[in-house]
Symmetry: C2
Subunit: 210 residues, 2 copies
């Protein structure tokens, strides 16, 4: 998911191995709780070797985070002003849920960063994220005003979509234990549930609503 700079084959491979291991550890323990020894062990490399590829622990963390927010927002960017409002938002929910299913570690890395006060991505949140959200919020408000969507707060709609979809990645242990299931089964159920939830809440108050 992250694409490190690399000049040689070995650099490309090892940078990736390191970032993958770092993602494992950072996403579980957060930046402060992670140790280079843990990352080194999981990467199958020596600690000094990690520091041959990255100048510091923080550099690994920044590398992981910097690419993340961008990828994370792709599903929202894809919200199409030309599409049918309810279906567009439902498709967004599905894309977001798919992100949680495919990239749970990235979701947890992000959650950990926010929980710790977002020290390294506060700027990005206030700039890029806010700008995109404002844009899409205006779009959704337009849909509502045109009667093509229920009259709903677009910001809190997005918060709820983020919360419900990321929940399956961030709290997956709880989800699996409560359901007594394992694997990806919860995601299929979640998709059906969330489709119902948002379809019902977003349906426009048609002139002669059935």
């Amino acid at each position: 998911m992250a694409a490190p700079r690399a000049r040689t084959r070995i650099q490309a491979r090892n940078s990736e191995v390191i970032l993958d291991a770092a993602l494992d550890v950072f996403s579980q323990y957060g930046f402060r709780g992670a140790t280079l020894d843990q990352i080194a062990e999981r990467a199958g490399l020596s600690k000094p070797n990690l520091l041959y590829y990255f100048p510091s622990k923080e550099a690994m963390h920044v590398t992981l985070l910097s690419g993340l927010l961008d990828t994370w927002l792709d599903p929202l960017r894809a919200l199409d002003p030309e599409g049918e409002p309810v279906e567009e938002i439902l498709a967004y929910v599905r894309r977001k849920l798919e992100m949680s299913r495919l990239y749970p570690r990235e979701s947890r890395l992000f959650a950990n960063e926010i929980l710790q006060g977002a020290p390294r991505i506060l700027d990005m949140i206030e700039q890029d994220l806010k700008a995109l959200v404002d844009e899409k919020a205006a779009l959704i408000r337009g849909w509502s005003a045109a009667g093509r969507l229920a009259d709903i707060d677009p910001y809190h709609l997005m918060f709820s979509i983020w919360a419900t979809t990321q929940h399956y990645a961030d709290f997956d242990i709880q989800v699996h234990r409560v359901l007594g299931q394992s694997g990806d089964a919860p995601y299929d159920e979640a998709e059906r549930f969330l489709s119902h939830l948002y379809r019902a809440a977003l349906a426009p108050p048609g002139p002669g609503a059935r």
Copy 2:
């Protein structure tokens, strides 16, 4: 919120001061990322003094967590089988949102623990939490079967309620930055939004639905 054992006045006061400081630090950095020095500084006590009241860092964490899950489930326990289904669930959402507003640190402590794999509360989740959720899920299914509630998966309904309400505590930095607001204002908007969301999704398919 937590009630430490205490024999003398000083013990009662200092135990509470320590747990309050520990909650600050643990909820932000997680168990591994938290340090006794941080807790000591925030509590205004010396590090050895902390360890006079608690035998170890882990003991503080366990003390905080042990009381937490119980309190955390109170809103769900209060779901009344005798009540009107839709209003009962909406009241549950409001209680849960109120918990996030009043106890955001506790919410984050819990989130951190789950993110790290719930090493200290997995048992509680599989026992107490699962039992309560199963019970209430059966109740909700009954309501649906009786046509008093939409036919909806009760487990994922609860997941979505947890996710959306706790989001305002766990991701509050993001929420505030995106909204460009501060203080409790988001909570009032959230209550209106979530009421609409769940009312729409839970409304039973009445025989002659209006």
